[in-house]
């Protein structure tokens, strides 16, 4: 097991390094200049050059990149160009809302997916299964910005059950304000979860040891929950972890639609303003988070299933 863990961690290092190059280059190569964005049309080229110099933006790209990597290694991501605050402070302020949204979203996704997938697998090819599969297709096709607005329109404006947007950091109002965004985020994940879990369940339920269990007269409920669900959970862990990137991408849209001051909306704002340091840090940190989550998922999976680590 130790060898396996070590090998996986070593494999992650070049990925993270490559990520740092990408995160840095993506925003620097896009046209648009933070100083010009900040100063607007009023600024003469001379002023723009002065401010760029003050911010160190006129140095060669490679020098700027090396500075970014060495600082990032020490946990320092510099100061935001446009907000004039340490990037870590800004990210710290905004991370809380995003964590709650992600966590809540995953819980919603699991609460919806697990029962539906079970039902769908048990009722394979019956009308219930068809309806659930129709639902997953629809959920998969719905863009989150649209779904979010429709939910806000229905539950916020028509029924007035929940706020149409905004964020409150104190309980229990926190859960109320995050319910619609979390449902939007969760539903976007259910399609993948239900399909994965359903096929994994079907595979397990048609395997020989399950046939054997049935032959011994074990009740079906026990077979599905004990044998089926348990054996499929490993796949679920991986799917959720691998889709973390997808979920983080979802927060970008959802936080904007529901006005949640999180990392996603921060990324949108900083990209529009070409805040190099902030965009680079946000891209790098969320990318690294995805790498480490899938690493962690591999390790958990390896713990659950010896075949993985020995194979």
């Amino acid at each position: 097991m130790a060898v396996y863990v070590g090998r996986r961690i070593v494999a992650a290092i070049p990925v993270v390094l490559g990520l740092s190059v990408l995160a840095f280059l993506i925003i620097h190569l896009v046209p648009g200049d933070p100083v010009q964005q900040m100063l607007g049309a009023h600024a003469t080229p001379k002023t723009v050059a002065e401010v760029s110099h003050r911010l160190g933006l006129d140095r060669p790209l490679l020098a700027q990149y090396l500075r970014f990597v060495s600082d990032a290694f020490r946990g320092d991501f510099g100061r935001s160009i446009t907000m004039n605050q340490p990037v870590t402070t800004l990210i710290g302020q905004r991370a809380v809302a995003t964590f709650w949204l992600l966590g809540y979203g995953v819980v919603v996704a699991l609460l919806v997916s697990v029962p539906l997938a079970l039902w769908s697998a048990v009722r394979r090819d019956r009308i219930e299964d068809q309806l659930i599969r129709l639902f997953t297709t629809a959920a998969f096709g719905m863009p989150t910005f649209w779904l979010g607005l429709v939910l806000a329109l229905l539950f916020g404006l028509r029924l007035r059950w929940l706020p149409v947007g905004g964020y409150t950091s104190a309980f229990p109002e926190l859960l109320r304000s995050l319910t619609l965004p979390a449902v939007t985020l969760g539903l976007s994940l259910t399609a993948i979860l239900i399909r994965t879990l359903r096929s994994s369940l079907l595979e397990t339920l048609s395997s020989e040891y399950v046939e054997a269990a049935r032959a011994r007269g074990l009740p079906e409920r026990r077979i599905v929950l004990r044998y089926g669900l348990r054996n499929s959970l490993g796949a679920m862990v991986t799917v959720v972890a691998v889709n973390l990137g997808f979920l983080i991408g979802g927060t970008v849209v959802i936080e904007t639609v529901f006005q949640i001051p999180g990392l996603g909306s921060l990324l949108v704002e900083s990209t529009l303003r070409r805040d190099y340091t902030l965009v680079t840090a946000l891209t790098f940190i969320s990318g690294t988070a995805v790498v480490f989550m899938s690493l962690a998922a591999d390790l958990v999976y390896a713990m659950l299933d010896p075949r993985v680590r020995l194979g």
Partner: protein, 554 residues
């Protein structure tokens, strides 16, 4: 201004101002409250261009009834507030309109919407005969929100910041001619200029010249602006970056009895649909940036009302005059004649725009359409001009525009179709705002809409016309590559002239610019706000800022 003779006095601030259409209509509304919004809109469309006084159209929320004190107003706003340092600006109006609540300048734009200036922290001032020295008297009851008196030292400190090009990098152009501020006594200062600057009072009436307390800014440095102490009607009580900013009443505000609201909260809601939802669900009582596509449906909603404010806001289409196609005056004029602006107004802007008779936004001193007519829609004239141009067979070109604004796509498709009629084939390039404006600054475009929202910082033409016409401004004809020495000499005279002469000179410049059309003003647009029906007197000044000092909740 008439040098030497110009004197403003707080006891009679209204003496010199013209009565705007809105003022007249206000009387009508008090007489009969049945005035419908449709009527207001009709009036707005018919008279917009040409009135020298930008003014707001009357909405049911305006009243002379006795204001009720108290209550809290949530204002859903498109742009977030990210800095309250008057010399910084990160989010345009998101920062400006929050700073407007917190600070005051020596003079200020008429809060009720005309293009005149009225006293601010200075209750009176005089101008020297040579137009190079302004003496300001600070009003006796001018206090910061911590109770400290506003002193001549504070004014000197603030104006020196304004005049320092290192500190005032963004609005440095407004500090043209600033030499220094001399303290006469505790409440009197003299501002010295190196040359007469006709727009000087306008230049110090906005953001970068807001008065800040010297002692606190020196002590606290940048931290000061997190919880600034100013002289505006409100003070910041809570500020959640990227989410909201909350203001409480400033107990030391110099206009007695105001403001009426206990609390104002700006909630930052970028998404148009979400912002409108906030108003309709009752979470917000005011909302800015109403999308043109939603105006019709809001008109039918009796729980809210709309407000259209005429501000220097326009749909500016820039032409790259360094390209041979657009260096050809016949081509530029053909482009103008080929645009059916009425159709664009009806289909894209819900009819709330005004067909422009200037290539710049609507500004003070603009002549009415009867004097300087707009370009009419005239296809045969456009075709004839194309035939006379160096490109009789037309040409292929591109048009860049910012992504993320629904109405742009409609607009560019209509333009594309209309110009095809005269042989100009336009390829559309949609890209994000940052890319679009960057390529604009580098003159890396054929035609472009450089900004989603294009507004002037001041209501007088001085700022924009200097950008465009001054060959030494460093902005290369406002990034159009266009230069015209004859117009520049007219502009130079205008920039230093007294008020009476300026009124005569400007229409000539306006007309010459219209004739040259280095770029195209597709439409003059209003700011569109919407309010819950219980919001009263949400006055907006001629720059679109809503200071909420007169606003109350019924």
């Amino acid at each position: 201004m008439m040098p030497g003779s110009d004197r403003w006095d707080a006891s009679d601030p209204w003496a010199r101002r013209r009565y705007s259409r809105r003022e007249v209509l206000k009387g009508a509304a008090v007489a009969g409250t049945g005035l419908s919004l449709a009527a207001v809109l009709a009036a707005c469309g018919g008279q917009g261009t040409g009135t020298q006084t930008p003014s707001i159209s009357l909405s049911p929320g305006f009243t002379t009834a006795r204001p009720k004190k108290g209550g809290s107003l949530v204002y859903a706003r498109r742009a977030a507030t990210e800095t309250l340092d008057p010399l910084q600006n990160r989010t345009g109006n998101g920062d400006i309109f929050a700073a407007e609540l917190v600070y005051t300048a020596l003079v200020r734009p008429d809060p009720k919407g005309s293009s005149d200036l009225v006293p601010g922290l200075a209750d009176r001032w005089t101008v020297s005969p040579d137009g190079k020295a302004y003496t300001f008297h600070i009003r006796d009851n001018a206090r910061f929100s911590n109770g400290d008196r506003v002193t001549a030292e504070d004014v000197q400190f603030s104006l020196d910041r304004f005049g320092d090009p290192k500190l005032n990098a963004i609005y440095g152009v407004l500090a043209v001619g600033y030499e220094g501020t001399e303290i006469v006594d505790e409440s009197t200062v003299v501002v010295h200029l190196t040359q007469p600057v006709s727009a000087f009072l306008y230049n110090i009436s906005i953001l970068p010249a807001f008065i800040v307390p010297k002692r606190l800014v020196e002590q606290q440095g940048e931290k000061f602006f997190d919880r600034p102490v100013g002289t505006g009607p409100f003070v910041v009580t809570e500020w959640l970056s990227g989410s909201s900013i909350t203001f409480g009443r400033n107990p030391y505000y110099w206009e007695s009895g105001k403001p009426y609201l206990d609390e104002v909260r700006y909630e930052f809601i970028t998404d148009d649909n979400a912002r409108m939802l906030a108003l309709q669900s009752g979470r917000a009582q005011a909302v800015d940036g109403v999308p043109f596509s939603q105006i019709e449906s809001l008109k039918n909603d009796s729980s809210v009302y709309l407000q259209f404010t005429e501000v220097p806001y326009f749909q500016g289409l820039w032409l790259n005059n360094e390209k041979p196609e657009f260096a050809d005056l016949n081509v530029r004029k053909a482009l103008q004649y080929a645009i059916d602006k009425q159709t664009i107004n009806d289909t894209v802007y819900a009819g709330v725009g005004t067909i422009p008779n200037s290539v710049l936004p609507h500004l003070r001193y603009d002549a009415p359409p009867s004097e300087v007519p707009p370009y009419p829609f005239d296809l045969s004239k456009a075709k004839q001009l194309m035939a006379e141009s160096s490109f009789p067979n037309g040409f292929d070109t591109t048009l860049q525009y910012p992504a993320g604004f629904g109405y742009y796509r409609q607009l560019v498709l209509i333009l594309q179709a209309q110009w095809k009629e005269i042989g100009i084939n336009v390829r559309l390039i949609e890209q994000d705002q940052g890319t679009t404006s960057q390529r604009f600054y580098q003159l890396d475009y054929d035609m472009t809409f450089p900004y989603a929202q294009f507004t002037s910082d001041v209501v007088v033409p001085d700022e924009y016309i200097a950008f465009v016409a001054d060959p030494k401004s460093g902005t290369n004809g406002f990034f159009s590559g266009w230069h015209d020495p004859a117009i520049w000499s007219m502009v130079q005279e205008f920039l230093g002239a007294d008020e009476g002469t300026r009124k005569v000179l400007w229409p000539k410049i306006q007309k010459a610019m219209m004739e040259q059309t280095p770029f195209i003003n597709i439409m003059n647009l209003p700011f569109v706000q919407a309010y819950s029906s219980n919001v009263r007197n949400p006055y907006i000044n001629a720059l679109g800022a809503n200071r909420l000092e007169d606003t109350w909740l019924a």
